[in-house]
């Protein structure tokens, strides 16, 4: 397989298909809530339109200007490291630790951009985002470590391979459940859209962003959502095994769509939680993840 293929495949998926998936979810939510809803291309239109809007600068801070593209880049690198039906390119190979930390790098940059804006709303949003991250990432890491222990490898590709050939196992299923329960929060959807909370703190970290930078931030968040869903689908539900890679890509795309739709349904029927409730919820989910680790340790 040529080195360029995985880069192109991943790039197309996260850059071109992510807005479509978000559009579909918005449509489904509207149907559940008996609304007409926007067309499924709405997210593309929003982003393209934002690129041409005025670039408002409320501060001369360099991070305010350069933070969003840098966050976009960090999440894109994470996406390129994730096997989405193909093997990642040689130069981009990494393991779950690099995956996780590049992911945190992106989140850190968004959070710092929000602080640099100097708006109290964005600061509240950024502090909440950080707290949510502190509660959700240990769950994801515990689930990934479970997979690492089972497959004796830290490389994501090896974990997928293991689960394909010798899965399903109790520990990996348990880890998958924990990962799924944490996913809603990573996606930043109701009931966990606490950091943005438009009706409460008017968009949190995004409040001072405008024009091209806002477009990039929105894209960065979409890339992050897509990547996380792919990781869940690939590591914990890798079946069925299909041979030519283009079919594999299509199968995983369908799986990810199912996850997106599930998340959308949850979003449509739930109210937003308070930050302390969300933290307690994640505390419980962590136990599921630790149970997965315990299962892996005893070898099931």
């Amino acid at each position: 397989m040529s080195a360029a293929i995985p880069i192109i495949v991943n790039g197309v998926i996260v850059l071109l298909l992510a807005p479509l998936y978000d559009g579909i979810v918005r449509k489904i939510k509207a149907i559940i809530q008996s609304r007409q809803g926007p067309p499924i291309t709405q997210v593309y239109i929003d982003i393209l339109k934002l690129l041409g809007k005025e670039d408002l600068r409320c501060t001369r801070n360099l991070l305010f200007r350069y933070g969003p593209p840098a966050a976009f880049a960090a999440f894109l690198v994470v996406a390129l490291q994730t096997p989405m039906g193909t093997q990642p390119a040689t130069g981009l190979r990494g393991d779950m630790i690099t995956w996780m930390y590049f992911q945190v790098l992106g989140a850190a940059l968004i959070s710092l951009t929000a602080v640099a804006a100097g708006n109290p709303f964005s600061e509240v949003g950024s502090a909440r985002e950080t707290m949510l991250m502190l509660s959700v990432e240990p769950v994801a890491v515990a689930a990934l470590i479970t997979a690492a222990v089972k497959s004796s490898s830290l490389r994501i590709a090896d974990m997928i391979e293991y689960n394909l050939t010798s899965g399903p196992t109790v520990s990996l299923l348990c880890g998958g459940v924990a990962f799924f329960l944490a996913l809603q929060q990573v996606l930043g959807r109701v009931p966990f859209d606490i950091a943005e909370a438009e009706t409460e703190i008017v968009g949190g970290p995004l409040v001072e962003q405008s024009g091209p930078n806002l477009a990039l931030l929105k894209m960065a968040m979409l890339i992050r959502q897509m990547t996380y869903c792919f990781l869940l689908a690939q590591i914990f539900v890798p079946w069925p095994k299909v041979s030519p890679w283009p079919i594999g890509v299509i199968v995983s795309l369908i799986k990810v769509l199912v996850i997106f739709v599930l998340a959308g349904v949850v979003e449509a029927v739930m109210p937003r939680l308070r930050i302390d409730q969300a933290l307690k919820y994640m505390g419980r989910v962590l136990f599921v993840a630790l149970a997965a680790l315990a299962f892996a340790a005893i070898g099931v």
Partner: protein, 665 residues
Amino acid sequence: MFQSNVEIAFVILVVGAIISGASRSWKVSGWLAGVFVGAATVVAWIEGVNVLTTGKTVHSTIAQLSLFGTTLAVDLDPLGAGFLLLVTTVTFLATIYSIGYMDVPGPEKPARFYTPLLLFAAGMIGVVSVQDWLVFFVFWELMTLASYILVVFNKEDPVVQRAGLKYFIMTHIASVGILVAALVLWHKTGSFSFEQQAIALRESSSWLRNLLLALYFVAFATKAGIFPLGDWLPDAHPAAPSGVSAILSGAMIKLGAYGVIRIFWQMVGSDLTSRELLTWGVVIAALGTVSAFVGGVTAMRENDFKRQLALSSIGQTGYIFLAMGIGIALLKLKGFQPIALLALMGAGFHILNDAIYKSLLFMNAGSVLYSTGTSDLRKVGGLFAVMPAVAVAAFIGVLSLSGLPPTNGFASKWVIYQSSISAGLVFSPFLVMAVIAFFASLSTFAYALKFFYGTAFLEPPSEEYQPRRLPRTMTFSQTLLALLCVGIGLVPAIGIDSVASVFQMPKHALFRIGTFGEIATTQGVHPLSAIWNPIGLAIALLTCYLLAEWIRTWGKAKVRIVTNWYCGEEHPEREVRFRAQDFYAPFNEIFAKVYPHISVPKVGGLQKLRDLLDFDTWLYRPLVRATTAMVDRIRRSHAGPLQLYMIWQIAGLIVVLIILLSTIR
């Protein structure tokens, strides 16, 4: 005259301590100290690199006291050489930094600062280059004493006094452990040398051996600042002048780790049974994990940024101990030695990286303090515009502390996670430790990157003040350290290879360095396969960034400068600021019970326990008061009219004469 360069470096420092103390001008003294430390650093590097490349121990005897079985000799092996390079380099940069920082207007003389600073450095050099416990103890005490004088530099401040006292007493009581253990073993062999005592330790009964090991461990862990023994650390580090904090955190507390490695890995590693090693290893790793967690969570609710950094030192030492513990635990388990070596590599690598970014961060904090005059996060802000170079350096520093790529902090955490997950295959609690360590690393991001960096450099200040510009010497040290952070982060092979030579591991035993700097675990040796391509990922990051910048230009958006938007109302910036202390309020509530607010419930009998835990009231203060009273009494015998002295002298003469006359006959 001198047989080894270490002696030359030591003498340079002692002479420098005298000469730079002689001047009355702070600037002159500072430059003199800088030159002397620089010379000592160069000499130490020549020797250290020589030892590391050849792998041979440099030995030269200076004096022998066969009566006590002790030898004053330089014995620099690769382990000591590695720490020698670390200690001298950090001290050198911190001294250069101090030239600008120590801009003291008061009557204080420079001898009060530079003389102990150079002696401190001399003590540290001595500690790492001898292999005799008595001599080691002397240098160890020199180091502690000199650093105490530096910690209490602002002697008018009662908080500083208290912090210094706590530091002095805690580390002293702990280091007595080294002496006691050494004396017990000396009683058996009649020698203080590392080698002889190790043999004696091997031949002792099992309980005595472990008791002595515990004494050593407590002494070194206290110095390293591991929780709960490192209770002195969050008080002493902020109290000291920032250059000294950088040395304390970047170099001195690493010597605690040096001691533990020396004892457990080199002296008794092969003598203990695998069961003993496993127990010790698990205890050390568990203490490390708890430290990492406690350091991270408590730093999140601190409003003083120097205190925050001190707590982060507890946390980072926790990582080092976690890795060291794993290394010790698996040292003798059949088939798992590669994991042990990997963990030791992680510990060594993290010591190196932590020394670099922690001294950088203390210098950054010092720059903020220098510029604004306060270390309160609720007041500072907006320093990005005042000191852009330091702001960029500090950004790299906090990225590194949080362990984010592409900096060196990530490189060593990558190794530590690998080792703890693979050790989890053998002993599953290590898996949970890995998860906790990851959480702690995220909390590092929460307090360092956002809290400290965001507040001090990005946000507008909450009070009016005139920030001072920084002298060049301060910027120089910080820039250099920041470059080191990125350099090791992009080419971690340099760090891995040098740590391998410190531990005398064969090159590329653990990692295969591929084309373009790709690092992967060697197949078949290591139970977990891991891979990381630092340069490839950095290039990818840069390319993606350029892509993002290109996308930005699509719409040809116009730039307009606006003011902040507060939902349509107009407020002055200062009124609506989100105060730093509320950042993580909901989160801090969950962890409110964690250190340092140890709250014992108020049940009658437990009140006694509370009092018992308050060492200040029943131990430290009475001890100090008694000492002062005694000294005062002695002093009073000397303070008086001249005639009184004469009487004393005559009386003394008479006593001496009587004794002499009665004995001679």
